[in-house]
Symmetry: C2
Subunit: 170 residues, 2 copies
DNA sequence: GAAGATTGATTAGTCAATCTTT
DNA sequence: AAAGATTGACTAATCAATCTTC
């Protein structure tokens, strides 16, 4: 019964989550808020999803980038790829290293830099996470047709271009 | 010259920011990542934007909800509107109160609850922030036509429904 | 016991300052 | 001096545990 109650409450909150906060003034504003709100929900659910491995979306993305690169990356490059501050990368790598998922190595000809590589265990974990993550992505996005997905890609990209243009001009 | 360099570097990073990280596998995955990435950029730029008032998007949204309500709100209601944990609301309200933008009051017939109200200063600040924020929103979203904005609203909403459906079924 | 709020621990993120190496 | 990384101070967010009041 406790579980039933918890589920019911959860479902209610999720239904509410689809709706935007009530402070929108016009369509233009609503469009921005709708994109922002969707991003927040994505973040929130990703956080819950990755907790089953005692992990997080930030750690998942870092491991993913490392695997994708296929070779050691400097922390600077990681930060560049993920668009996060270098000091943040330091912390993430430290925690991942503490968990044995990643290893720091000196860079032969530049002792300022640090090379980060996946350990065997890190590789196993990212493979497993990514497997389940892919299924989840497909489930979530099955709410949209292929054409709608393509259109969403186009429109969000345009929005990013708008963001970039505005921040340039100041 | 220093300023020119800084701007040039800034522009470069912004151009890069339009592009997604390189780990996308197919259109479905890319659609989700594109929405997520756009949300991250929105969050990031909002953070920078509101720093001119020594504030943040979280504080702005809290003040906005308070003004919209037009009457004292309990912290529970605030958390519900903004979809953030109650303990987070406690912290935000504390910092806003310390800055004199908001006031805590006892609720007459329920001494468990706290009512939060805008101070005169808080009201003045949210009016000023919102004024400039509205312009900024219009500038950013002018990259999209009205029809595109409407479509973006529709598609992101569908995505939230997909998120809600998936999280229900587990 | 449940509701509303607070506290404490932890993660993520930013920025400014510092340190070492180039 | 500039590059790469780290440290420290801070905000924001979550969760678990606690406290007071209903």
């Amino acid at each position: 019964m406790v579980k039933a109650n918890a589920t019911a409450a959860g479902v209610m909150r999720r239904a509410e989550a689809v709706e935007l906060p009530l402070t929108c003034r016009n369509q233009t504003h609503e469009a921005l808020v709708s994109a922002w709100w969707t991003g927040r929900l994505l973040q929130k659910q990703a956080g819950q999803f990755f907790r089953q491995w005692d992990s997080s979306d930030a750690k998942f993305n870092l491991l993913l980038v490392l695997r994708w690169a296929g070779e050691p990356m400097t922390q600077k490059d990681i930060g560049r790829q993920l668009l996060v501050d270098k000091s943040n990368v330091t912390g993430l790598v430290t925690r991942l290293a503490r968990a044995g998922l990643v290893r720091r190595q000196v860079v032969p000809h530049d002792r300022r830099s640090v090379h980060v590589t996946l350990t065997a265990r890190g590789r196993r974990l990212i493979d497993e996470m990514d497997e389940r993550y892919s299924h989840r992505v497909r489930d979530v996005m099955s709410a949209l047709t292929e054409d709608e997905q393509a259109e969403l890609i186009r429109l969000t990209r345009k929005m990013r271009e708008g963001l970039a243009a505005v921040s340039e001009e100041e």
